[in-house]
């Protein structure tokens, strides 16, 4: 395992109320070495929810506004790491992608450079890289940008902003997670569970497309490793479960996890021809060109493709070792939903 930094005096998390943000806060609050945890929440309601988790300092603000990052880092000192998870994935209007994902990151890296923070970890996505050209292809550590519509373009612009800041002297590392799953999941993932329970998850084409996914705890491990590995500076890493899964395997495994948690699951019987996936993708493109965003079209269009990534660089350079695989991770997610009283 590579040499590691000690935890910094101050750990700053943007997007703290989000899925990954809450996973990170949970981890940091259980780590005595994290003396000071400072969070960016985007609303008072979110701030209240975060304050109930433990001893944290909270700043409320919109990362898309230039002054927010400065306020967030004010007084944080230089023994400070910033984990930037704030972003928007399913907005109402496509311009929100650019305000939040691209401009928000520009503001943050500028402020982080000005404050001479120790390290910034930028949470990117698979979206700047589009989809694999065929079902057996796997994204390597370095790939050409080929952004998947509005979200992908905005996340690419965010990466470019980080790389430019690195060239100006910022110590930063990029992690690229694909589709998450696990506790703290937002409502859209609940829909996914409900569709599978009802036997109505649309498997596009033959279902042998491969998808990399990442269990939230694995992702938190990867983000922390990227934060604390000195040699990771300037690099970007895929952080995902050990291997990609086929869509058929995902549907089957989630069904089994739901059943093993005592829920009734109907056999899945929605098979959509590949042409429907392509039609949805086309519709997604048109709708996004009109400045709007329609989640179902976007997700169905993307389901037609393989999005698979190779995590060996993170394993070799960060000592990243994803411990949870799909079945166990999905059971934990289902249990979390049931414990939280989420109806599946």
């Amino acid at each position: 395992m590579a040499e590691q930094f000690a935890a910094p005096r101050t750990t700053v998390v943007t997007g703290a109320g989000g899925w990954l943000g809450r996973g990170l806060v949970h981890r940091f609050l259980h780590d005595p070495a994290r003396r000071h945890v400072k969070l960016l929440a985007h609303s008072t309601a979110e701030a209240h929810a975060l304050a109930s988790l433990g001893d944290v300092e909270i700043v409320i603000g919109d990362i898309g506004r230039p002054d927010t990052a400065r306020r967030l880092l004010h007084g944080a000192g230089t023994d400070c790491d910033v984990i930037h998870t704030a972003g928007i994935i399913h907005p109402r209007l496509t311009r929100e992608f650019f305000e939040i994902n691209a401009n928000g990151t520009r503001h943050l890296v500028e402020a982080a450079g000005g404050h001479r923070v120790r390290r910034l970890v930028h949470v990117s996505s698979n979206s700047p890289f589009g989809t694999n050209p065929h079902a057996n292809d796997t994204f390597r550590a370095n790939e050409p940008y080929n952004p998947y519509y509005g979200y992908g373009v905005s996340k690419m612009q965010a990466e470019l902003a980080v790389f430019e800041a690195i060239d100006r002297g910022l110590d930063a590392t990029i992690v690229r997670p694909p589709w998450f799953y696990g506790p703290f999941q937002p409502p859209r993932q609940t829909v996914f569970f409900r569709m599978i329970r009802a036997g109505r998850f649309p498997v596009v084409g033959d279902g042998e497309q491969r998808r990399s996914m990442v269990y939230i705890d694995n992702l938190v491990d990867g983000v922390v490793a990227a934060e604390l590995t000195p040699a990771a500076s300037g690099n970007a890493y895929w952080i995902a479960d050990r291997r990609p899964y086929t869509v058929n395997e995902i549907v089957e495994t989630v069904g089994r996890a739901l059943a093993d948690e005592g829920l009734e699951v109907k056999p899945n019987n929605v098979h959509v021809p590949a042409i429907a996936g392509r039609t949805a993708e086309f519709g997604d493109r048109i709708v996004q060109r009109l400045g709007r965003y329609q989640q179902q079209l976007h997700v169905l269009g993307e389901m037609n493709h393989t999005i698979a990534c190779d995590i060996s660089r993170a394993m070799n350079e960060l000592g990243y070792d994803p411990r949870v695989e799909l079945y166990d991770g999905m059971r934990a997610s289902v249990r979390w939903c049931l414990d939280e009283g989420v109806e599946l």
């Binding site: 700047p128 050209p133 080929n146």
Partner: protein, 481 residues
């Protein structure tokens, strides 16, 4: 040398049509087995060294139709065929790859090829490697080749130097060990005759047996060649076309396979262009589906590569010494057809790319572009209409946004699979040893037999299979006593 003039009446125990990787090896094996062999070649015998390699003059004299041959489709795919003694071996990159084990195994299974033993293939490949002096370039590789090595290394992508069939004398640039320097002289030393400038128009069939071949001589006169057996080795376009003109039925010309390629021109800070040679490094990180390598880059070809987006790319041409050309090749799931049309001298070739092929071409071009930037390219000019000049990673996104295979200059040099070999008569035009199904004495022994495109430079595989089949034929005892 026994280059004989083509005459109106010729005969031989075995007529070999074509003198490339398939025909030359067939002729050598059969002549050395004591058979009376006549090789007929449509093109000229041109001594190496009398023409600059990869030059326009070479295209004019050693390529079919001056190098301008096209498989129709959307996009149309330009291809090249050698038309000279030695065929494609005189003009190609000279890179050698052994027949891949997994490919041979897949062919055996999917096409029901009898008695195709990989150990035997490898043993023959060993003989070929010795005969052609297969080896790596002594000393450092050229600057265009080093670009591939350097870019791949920075990206952590697998790459290797591909051995070539070149003979290097101290300090010399190497002599390609093409068929005119190896198997054709061997065939002639064993008594084979070769007639050049002579086209075979058709085989005259009597039931299952070919009785004779109708020829057109260099001076335009017609002639006839009588033979016991005939080996058709005209390559994957000409061989099926000849069988079709001879009214031989079966799955012939219906399953053309190629490795489609897209190109780019990359400009570097320093001069690197090597007009008369190609890169020996290939990037195999995404193999077999995608491979990257260097293309012939003499100034005329650089201009051709820039012509897709001439309005914005043309200024670069004056800088050609700092530019080299590279390709991304894919294994295609598409198929093409070769059809002869009565009254037309050349067959009509068509090829259709699949959706996956198009996605792969785009991905290949983008990954190759990234590699060029990593290797230090200042500007990359991708070969498709509407392409941007790429200077930084963000420009690759723009390039991906405007790419479509239909706008690209897609070309190929690896043509095969038009008469697949095997016992499965629904897909195979020839049996497991190359005899055309439904005939007694018509054999095919060239790239047409490869059941699919092999995913690597195919010449080594073509030669190994041709030698295997010719040895079986010789051992069968036909034409003896």
């Amino acid at each position: 040398m026994t280059i004989v003039p083509a005459t109106p009446r010729m005969d031989a125990d075995v007529l070999v049509i074509g003198s490339g990787a398939g025909g030359a090896t067939t002729a050598a094996v059969l002549a050395e087995a004591g058979l009376d062999v006549l090789v007929v070649e449509e093109g000229e015998w041109i001594e190496q060294g009398s023409i600059v390699p990869f030059s326009l003059e070479q295209m004019d004299r050693q390529y079919r139709a001056g190098g301008v041959t096209v498989a129709l489709g959307l996009p149309s795919i330009a291809y090249t065929e050698g038309r000279c003694a030695g065929g494609g071996t005189e003009i190609n990159s000279g890179l050698y790859r052994r027949p891949p084990a997994d490919v041979i195994e897949r062919w055996t299974r999917d096409f029901d090829i009898a008695d195709l033993d990989y150990d035997e293939v490898v043993s023959i490949a060993g003989d070929v490697e010795e005969a052609l002096d297969v080896g790596v370039v002594p000393g450092p590789s050229t600057a265009p080749s080093d670009v591939l090595r350097r870019g791949a290394e920075r990206l952590g992508w697998q790459h290797s130097e591909i051995p070539r069939w070149m003979k290097y004398t101290n300090g010399g640039s190497g002599q390609r060990q093409s068929m005119t320097r190896t198997y054709l002289p061997r065939a002639m030393a064993a008594g084979a005759r070769i007639a050049t400038g002579c086209r075979i128009d058709s085989l005259e069939m009597g039931g299952r047996t070919a009785r004779s071949a109708s020829t057109t001589l260099p001076d335009g006169r017609r002639g006839t060649i009588r033979f016991g057996d005939v080996f058709v080795c005209g390559g994957a376009i000409q061989s099926p076309a000849l069988l079709q003109r001879s009214r031989i039925d079966g799955p012939i010309g219906r399953s053309l396979a190629v490795h489609p390629t897209v190109k780019l021109a990359a400009r570097f800070a320093d001069e690197l262009n090597v007009p008369d040679d190609v890169a020996v490094h290939q990037v195999k990180e995404f193999a077999p589906e995608l491979s990257f390598g260097g293309s012939a880059s003499q100034p005329g070809l650089v201009a051709l590569a820039l012509s897709d987006q001439w309005a914005t790319f043309s200024k670069a041409i004056t800088d050609w010494r700092r530019i080299s050309l590279y390709y991304a090749a894919i294994t295609s799931e598409g198929r093409g057809r070769v059809r002869t049309v009565r009254g037309l001298h050349d067959p009509i070739v068509t090829y259709g790319l699949t959706r996956r092929d198009r996605a792969l071409l785009g991905s290949g071009l983008a990954r190759l572009t990234l590699l060029m930037l990593e290797a230090g390219a200042e500007e990359v000019y991708p070969s498709f209409r509407g392409a941007p000049i790429v200077r930084a990673p963000k420009d690759v996104a723009t390039m991906n946004g405007s790419f479509s295979a239909s706008k690209a200059s897609v070309m190929t040099v690896h043509l095969c699979s038009t008469i697949p070999m095997g016992q499965d008569r629904a897909q195979c035009g020839a049996d497991s040893f190359g005899r055309v199904h439904g005939t007694d004495n018509v054999w095919v022994n060239d790239a047409s037999l490869l059941p699919t495109a092999p995913g690597v430079n195919p010449q080594g595989t073509v030669m190994a299979l041709a030698i295997r089949n010719a040895r079986r034929f010789a051992a069968s005892g036909r034409h003896r006593g």
